[in-house]
Structures are given as C-alpha cells and as structure tokens.
C-alpha cells in the first residue's frame, strides 16, 4: 500500500509535529529511535521532506529538523504521501490500465473507484496537527511496544 519510505516520512513528520507543539526540534537519531526506523535511511527520507518544504533543517551542534509554525496548521497526510510517492495511489488504475475510466473501465474499476476516493478523502482529512495532539494524549502510537 504505502512504501517504507512513505511510512517513515509520515511517522517522522508526526513526531516532529509533536515536538513543534513544544517549539522543539529533533535530530535524525532521536527521530529514528522514536519511529523505529533505520538511522541512515531515515536521514534520506528527512532530506526529501526538507526538499518538499514539509520540514526544515538546521545544521550544526544542536541542529536537527522541525516543522515551521506556519506550515503545521494545514499540513495533511496527503501532502506527505504525494511528496514522497506522487499521486498514483489516489489516481491510478488498480490494475495499471493507462486509460481506465467510467467509460473504459478495468474489471475492478466500478468497485475500486469509490475506495480510491475514500483513500484520497482519508489522506486529505488527516491533519498532521490533530494527530500530533492525539499522540501527546497517547491515543495513537508511532511504533510497536
């Protein structure tokens, strides 16, 4: 469903959103530990998030990553997913047909199209900021115990 890269991107962003509520930043090692991901690979994922303007980085001692206060309020999971793997998940035919549509449907189109819409809706409606709050309240979790 989602690539590992995308899983890490979402988790890292949510972790940083939590930190943002306390106006804190975090470095790669801390993030990787918090989301149970490999350090070096997580660093690469964070680089991608920086390039897409989802997180910001600071070099040097006490450096790290953080989310700008102005980006946080409207940041959705959809923006993260699209930044990492494009919009294929919410647009492409589930059987890979180039021209699949209502008038030219693949065998799964009729039943899958609404599900794809649900996925888009879910990703649009999941606000990073809200999820960060739920994380703080231990209502949701970023890794297995």
């Amino acid at each position: 469903m989602l690539s590992k890269t995308c899983e890490y991107a979402i988790k890292a962003t949510l972790y940083l959103a939590q930190k943002a509520h306390q106006s804190e930043r975090a470095n790669v090692k801390t993030i990787a530990k918090a989301i149970d991901s490999p350090d070096a690979f997580t660093a690469k994922v964070l680089q991608q998030l920086v390039k897409h303007g989802i997180v910001t980085s600071v070099k040097g001692t006490n450096g790290g990553f953080f989310i700008e206060p102005q980006t946080l309020p409207n940041l959705t999971l959809l923006q993260i997913v699209v930044a990492i793997e494009g919009d294929g998940l919410v647009k492409d035919c589930v059987l890979g047909l180039k021209n699949c549509s209502n008038v030219n449907p693949c065998p799964m189109h009729d039943k899958y199209a609404p599900i794809r819409d649900n996925i888009l809706n879910m990703l649009q409606s999941l606000l990073v900021n809200d999820l960060a709050t739920q994380l703080e309240q231990n209502m949701i979790f970023l890794k297995s115990k």
Copy 2:
C-alpha cells in the same frame, strides 16, 4: 497497491475465465498478448497460479492453461490476490505497526481500518466468473487500447 505480479495474475485468470466459457484453453503467448504483459514473466505468474490450484496447465502441442469448470463458479479476486501476495493487503497496518489495533492504533488506524475492510469486501465480492461475462460483453477491459 497491487504488485505487477498480482495485476498480471488477475488479468490472466480473467482472460482464462473468458476462454473457459467456451471450454477453451490458451497458451502463454496468447495470454500475454491479451493482457499486455511480458511473455516470460507471465509464464512465471501462471506457474504460481497453477501451484495454487487456480488454473491448470497442459504441456505439449496444443497445450496451455485453463480453469477447471468446478473452480470457476466460486473463484474470487481475493483468492488470486492472497495466492500471489498473501493477506497483507487486507490485514496489515497501513503504517507497518506489528500490533496495530483498535486498542493500540497507529495514527491512521481509525480512518484506514474501514477502508481496508472495504478492500477485503470488494475482493471477496468480485467473482471471476461474473467478470468474465462482463468481458465478453465488452463492458470491461483487460488492457488499454
């Protein structure tokens, strides 16, 4: 969403289901052309379908693949998907948490769990036999024009 292997497996099975309506079989080359997939790789996918009892093969001149009349009526897309890639798509946490559940949810669980159920439902409800009929009526298609 689905692997290429799984896409080919579904399309090949549907093509053979269509053939089954005429009590015909088809060889790799014919199938690959019909579903717009690479010959050699399609052969491997068909081998997997044979091993899982979804299709049957006949060697030698005029050999090929076909679906047994007794398997066709109740064959669903779910059986094909599970045979090829296991039940991860309809069971696993979308963020890869080992113990994600209602009491221990990942950040996407609440909104994703129903979608995952919808996917399971869709796959269970899509009968290969029905789709074959729709293919014959040109209501649905296995490849782009």
